[in-house]
């Protein structure tokens, strides 16, 4: 059995959906950020699969940018989580419905 592009796309879609479901059902803000990383990785896998299938390096370039943006997103997101949990220890996403401290 040969591994075609479709298999990579299916794997990327599964990762995206697992990450999205986790983002919806978990309440720990740290785990929610990890689920966002899962979603980004699923999309990255699709980009690389298309890049190879179409013979276009542009897909890999986009993945490079996604990596940079994901790093920036994690830095700012974890900064927010630290700032919130320092004020309100043990806060979950449900406790953050009001933005006012």
């Amino acid at each position: 059995m040969e591994i075609t592009t479709g298999w990579y796309l299916v794997l990327g879609a599964l990762l995206f959906v697992i990450g999205g479901t986790g983002l919806l059902i978990r309440r720990n803000p740290l785990v929610m950020l990890m689920c966002v990383e899962l979603m980004l990785n699923g999309v990255n896998l699709s980009f690389v699969a298309f890049s190879r299938t179409l013979g276009d390096i542009g897909g890999q370039t986009v993945v490079f940018f996604v990596l940079v943006v994901a790093a920036a997103e994690v830095v700012v997101g974890l900064g927010l989580v630290v700032a919130i949990l320092r004020r309100q220890p043990g806060a979950t996403a449900d406790d953050l419905s009001a933005l006012k401290g």
Partner: protein
């Protein structure tokens, strides 16, 4: 045959890790499961001849981002096991299940309907498939996408400044300085 085995093993790693991230009760276990998924993805990148991206995936994701997660978990001491019994809105679980089933169905239908997704479009950024993906990627990055590349440096500076401002100890130093100034 080897391709199939590599794909199956790495896909199993990815999916098991992803489920582990979502289902683990302890955030530390979630972070470690995330490492497993990221390594699986790196293997898939190597299998698709994206060697540079595989290296960057391991260095940046597993080496930096997950370590950052673990640092924050340790710093905040939130590594207690948290019950998965989620007392959220009554609709939320069903909405999440609906999202999962719906998006999976849509994506699967699209992939099956398109079949082999080769459109015959011309490559614009240079062809891949040779082993020289680093040179091709560098050429693409510093010619076609050079403005985007420069903008990412701006983005990273903003992220660093934002993180420092957010995590700074709130106000204690400021008020002290203000009182000192007022007294003097």
């Amino acid at each position: 045959m080897v391709d199939t085995l590599v794909f199956a093993a790495a896909a199993l790693m990815c999916l098991a890790g992803a489920l582990g991230v979502v289902l683990a009760r302890n955030p530390v276990h979630s972070a470690l499961m995330l490492v497993m998924t990221l390594f699986g993805i790196a293997v898939q990148f190597v299998a698709q001849e994206a060697h540079f991206l595989a290296a960057v995936q391991v260095i940046v994701y597993a080496g930096a981002i997950v370590v950052l997660f673990l640092f924050v978990i340790m710093l905040l001491g939130v590594d207690r096991a948290q019950s998965l019994e989620m007392s959220f809105l009554p609709i939320q679980k069903w909405a999440a299940l609906l999202f999962a089933a719906g998006s999976l169905a849509i994506i699967a239908a699209l992939i099956l309907a398109v079949g082999e997704p080769v459109t015959g479009a011309e490559a614009v950024g240079g062809s891949v498939g040779t082993t020289d993906d680093v040179r091709l990627l560098a050429h693409s990055l510093f010619s076609d996408y050079v403005y985007a590349f420069e903008l990412t440096s701006l983005l990273l500076v903003i992220a660093v400044i934002g993180a420092v401002v957010l995590v700074r100890k709130p106000r204690k130093a400021e008020t002290l300085a203000l009182e000192d100034g007022g007294d003097a």
